[in-house]
């Protein structure tokens, strides 16, 4: 696998997007995982390195999903410590992505957007703004997406993600939206993306589609739709670099 990646890197810039570092683990980062990431980043020299605002390891067991954090002062301190540790080990700034979440903890005391803003301010890390995740979490928890976007520090946002999601009706009649990277980007998410570009400027944008992968043509159409919005935002703002 590494050899293929090295060949790709010879011809293209690469962005490393991690899912296993578990920045929110109360028991600390897995030193082996951090070491492997540092070696990879050293060899590949990626343009960007990113991880998630989530956790997946407790008691020496990896639970194989991006699990939600209680948004508390303690969790903020833990995540800040781990982001600093990662940045020191990698000798570079990382981006931290807002997650899609399906449940909230009653003892959460900090809105997610404030949590991310504080994380960026305290550690100097960047924010990977996943617009689909904002839409999914806001819909699931009754948060306001406009407030979320408005509250993120624009200068910290270094990358944007888009993706498709699924909607499922639960027995109690409520609808839960699930980030599954398995369909076209929803119309509401495109609208939110245009607003994000206005606020954050033209940022590198990735469309995530890794389940039920369609014909290449469909992927190219989605990429073209993002490019159109990027160009429109660029034309509307002289601040945007080409």
């Amino acid at each position: 696998m590494r050899r293929y990646l090295e060949k790709v890197r010879c011809n293209y810039p690469v962005s490393i997007h991690g899912v296993g570092l578990s920045l929110g683990s109360a028991e600390g980062l897995d030193p082996q995982h951090l070491r492997r990431l540092a070696e990879l980043a050293h060899n590949i020299e990626p343009g960007l390195v990113s991880e998630h605002l989530s956790w997946s390891v407790v008691g020496g067991q990896y639970l194989a999903d991006l699990l939600p954090l209680p948004l508390t002062e303690e969790a903020l301190e833990v995540v800040c410590r781990h982001v600093e540790q990662t940045q020191e080990t990698l000798q570079r700034r990382i981006l931290v992505e807002n997650p899609s979440t399906y449940l909230q903890f009653p003892h959460s005391s900090i809105p997610e957007w404030e949590f991310l803003a504080a994380l960026a301010a305290r550690t100097g890390c960047g924010i990977l703004c996943d617009v689909n995740n904002i839409f999914v979490s806001c819909s699931n928890h009754g948060w306001d997406a406009a407030t979320y976007l408005r509250s993120l520090p624009a200068q910290a946002v270094g990358e944007i993600h888009l993706a498709g999601h699924a909607s499922r009706s639960l027995d109690d009649g409520r609808v839960v939206r699930i980030d599954n990277h398995g369909s076209r980007v929803a119309a509401e998410v495109w609208t939110l993306y245009a607003q994000a570009l206005q606020r954050f400027g033209c940022k590198p944008t990735l469309i995530e589609w890794d389940t039920d992968i369609p014909e290449l043509e469909v992927l190219l159409e989605e990429a073209a739709a993002a490019a159109t919005l990027l160009r429109a935002a660029q034309a509307g703002s002289h601040a945007c670099a080409a």
């Binding site: 578990s22 028991e27 067991q61 209680p70 399906y102 903890f105 003892h107």
Partner: protein, 280 residues
């Protein structure tokens, strides 16, 4: 009723219990810790979203590591077996290339697969293949260093094997089954006599790619003793003959041995450490 958890660690332990049971076993009923939210029915389907994603990620990791097993038993059977394995053992880290080393043993004991005697052997071979594919590159032992040793020292030398190399003894011709399945070669599959075992295999990655080689029993036993770190004279045991010397020469020239140690040095290092109080 105990109070809901408040610390981050308590919350994470409680969520693990809700998702996989307190001891890492799947199922709501196994949760012995207080949930980090008030008990209400709308939480269960939301927990199920996380549980399903976690389990399907791990099933897919096992599918990638055991493609021949999946072809042998079919997608649905594989999924059922993998889910049961996951219930018995969650990964120890996020490095999923390391997850599944106990799956071959699980399959050997899996009652639903009892009729397929070769399944455990093929799974063991696939795990060795994974190790070979994922091992980091290690430069071969510099033979000039070996040549500087005296005959006496040479007899006391022990070797370090390449991390991607595995030795397997299989009661069934697992290598033939594995090849036929992955090549979807029905004719080859039909011609396999499962009684035609045991086979002694060496799995490695060389300059041209993955290799699954058959060794003679004597060569395999010698190699296994070498890889276990036995000194050369002990590894040779009573099999010291020209054929075994050729096997050693082949291992050295093929880069299967990447370093060596001398027993005397080890003894000195051990004594020094002991005098510093590092060893009990």
């Amino acid at each position: 009723m105990p109070a809901p958890p408040e610390s981050l660690l308590e919350t994470q332990r409680a969520l693990r219990a809700q998702l996989f049971g307190a001891d890492g076993v799947l199922g709501d009923e196994a949760a012995s810790l207080q949930a980090p939210w008030p008990s209400e029915p709308r939480i269960a389907p939301r927990l199920a979203i996380y549980r399903n994603t976690g389990v399907s990620t791990l099933v897919n990791a096992l599918r990638l590591s055991f493609p021949a097993i999946q072809r042998l038993v079919g997608r649905d059977f594989f999924e059922a077996a993998a889910q049961q394995f996951i219930r018995s053992q969650l990964p120890a880290s996020a490095y999923l290339n390391d997850y599944g080393g106990d799956f071959p043993e699980f399959l050997r004991e899996f009652p639903a697969a009892a009729a397929l005697a070769y399944l455990g052997d093929v799974a063991q071979l696939e795990w060795a293949v994974n190790r070979a594919l994922h091992a980091s590159d290690s430069p071969a032992l510099d033979l000039v260093r070996l040549a500087q040793l005296s005959q006496t020292q040479l007899a006391r030398v022990s070797f370090v094997a390449h991390p991607g190399m595995s030795l397997l003894q299989s009661q069934t011709p697992a290598d033939l089954v594995w090849r036929a399945v992955l090549h979807q070669d029905d004719a080859a599959m039909a011609s396999i006599d499962l009684a035609n075992g045991p086979v002694w295999l060496l799995v490695e990655r060389d300059a041209t790619g993955l290799q699954v080689r058959r060794l003679g029993e004597a060569a395999w036993r010698f190699t296994a003793r070498l890889c276990a770190g036995l000194e050369l004279h002990a590894a040779l045991a009573d099999e010291s003959n020209e054929q075994i010397n050729a096997v050693l020469a082949d291992h050295l020239s093929s880069g299967r041995l990447i370093d060596f140690r001398l027993a005397d040095n080890d003894t000195k290092a051990h004594d020094a450490a002991q005098s510093r109080g590092e060893l009990s």
